[in-house]
């Protein structure tokens, strides 16, 4: 399912951001343009992080930017953004963040298989190294797809 959803257009390589807020806002542009989310969704992601701390940091250098569906999520959306240089998210253990996965869903269950597929590859250090080091969105996409096929 993840494979069918993602194209190279959903991937941005080497985004420059001044801080985590800037990184989240910029990484969300693609979903906003597609209409998957409203501006409100982006503001909410930033506010939630300000309130709760960096709990969206999943593990080694990855952040899953998302918030509740009622804050302007129109459909399931997913986009990948690698950061160059990496950005501090205030996570004690996993800074700096090299990859932001911006994510939206309309309820808390419809996207589970997607998340589960994603979980399968994010824990794999080698795959992640390949993804972090990709220099074009095509390269990133190919690494992602081949990891999913495994």
């Amino acid at each position: 399912m993840l494979k069918e959803m993602i194209t190279a257009k959903d991937i941005e390589i080497g985004l420059q951001a001044t801080d985590w807020e800037d990184a989240i806002r910029k990484s969300s542009r693609r979903l906003l343009e597609k209409g998957a989310i409203e501006q409100e969704y982006i503001d909410s992601m930033v506010n939630v992080l300000k309130e709760n701390g960096p709990y969206i940091v999943l593990g080694n250098h990855i952040a899953l930017a998302h918030t509740r569906p009622e804050y302007g999520a129109n459909e399931i959306g997913l986009s990948f953004t690698t950061l160059n240089p990496p950005v501090e998210f205030g996570s004690e253990n996993f800074d700096p963040i090299k990859l932001i996965i911006t994510f939206s869903a309309t309820d808390s269950n419809s996207h589970l298989s997607l998340i589960s597929e994603l979980a399968g590859i994010l824990g794999d250090d080698e795959v992640m190294r390949n993804l972090f080091e990709s220099t074009t969105s095509e390269e990133f996409y190919n690494h992602l797809v081949s990891a999913l096929d495994e």
Binding site: I62, L112, A119, L122, G123
Partner: protein
Amino acid sequence: MSFRSKAQTFGSKLSNMVLPNLGAFMAWGILTALGIALGNELLQSFIGPMLNYLLTLLIAVAGGKMVYGYRGSVIAAVATMGLIIGSEITMFIGAMVMGPLSAWILKKFDSLIENRIPTGFELLINNLSSGIIGAGLAIISNVAVAPIIVSLTKVLAAGVDFLMEYSLLPLTAIFIEPAKILFLNNAIGQGVLTPLGITQVSDFGKSILFLLESNPGPGLGILLAYMFFGRGNTKGTAYGASVIHFFGGIHEIYFPFVLMKPVLIFPLILGGMTGSFVFTLFDVGLVGVASPGSIIAISIMASMGDHVGIYAGIIAACIVTFVTSIPFVRKTDDNEEQLKSAATQMEQLKGKKSRISSVFDSEENTAKEFDFASVKKIAYACDAGLGSSAMGASILQKKIIKAGLEDINVFHLSVSDLPTECDVVVTHQSLMDRVKELQPNVYHIDIVDYLNAPQYDELVNKLKDSQQESKTL
């Protein structure tokens, strides 16, 4: 599971049916007290219906909800209605039986037909099943269960009557005081004494039974002994503890002082007996549950004109415990560690982390006797309840299935949807404070790494080991 932890689980289930409804019990107590004292007919008209219907149904609802959520509480109330109509006495004990039981029956039925309902018919079938089973259970309750409960209540009440008639009530302290230290107080206090006490209130306008367990005198005696004759840290802690105990009504606070020096159980029993003796002597009672057992709650609930006798009983209990415990407390060497380890021991006795132990030790302790074998549902919480938590839950679930523990279910949700029905809550470190506030009584795991948290494997191993252990037992 040891007998003690079984008894505790049972006790906490009983008290969980009463505790959420204490507000209603107190309201009833106030209306009853005023109604009788003022001779006001309007107020008196509340007494019977509120007792027999409202309070009984509230107990059933809480019991049903415990087993099967709101759906359980509905059928619990319906089935209990059969009990209420089928008997002349107040059906608290019956509601405590039929409430959870009927919810359990519905739950079993639902899981039997779960996969056989044609799409689109769920709502219809769910309503029909709950309605038909509910009506059936109400009739069975009325015809078959009510008489059994009536005779059971009569036996218990006869036992209490016997004790009261021969002035033997003080002897109950022999059971009540040690049971409190072992955290079995709720099983006795809410499970037995409250229903019987309420029955007495509706007959005589007050009951001494409410005073037996809630009397803060003996505990205060212990704490005073430490305040005057303890040394160092114990002395300082006892001072604050006595305020929390006596005015806050949180008796757990003195338990570590007793566990540190178990022989103190005898002064406690003596004090409890003295208190109950004085209460009997003055023929005093409360008009409703005094919970927590604070001097303030007791004063409010005291029957008109009984205040002096009640205070006398509490003071007498306190003095007797105080004086008899002095020799033991004096002998105790000051040892900060001892008090801390007693507080830890207390947690183990209780089987979960006690809100009180933080008074003695600010370090975080995880519950040591958490029963991993009984874990069925693990909640994974994050703020939104769809991204990080879904990710973590998916990974944890895979690991659990891999370990061969198919019947354990991991689900994700938003922190704001807590509390929920589960045994363990996993969440990100930065959200743990909120989780603990919303659902303190489960096993908590905080992680920082959703993907590769070492806590996952730790948990899976614990689950596996405990299941194997319980199988070989």
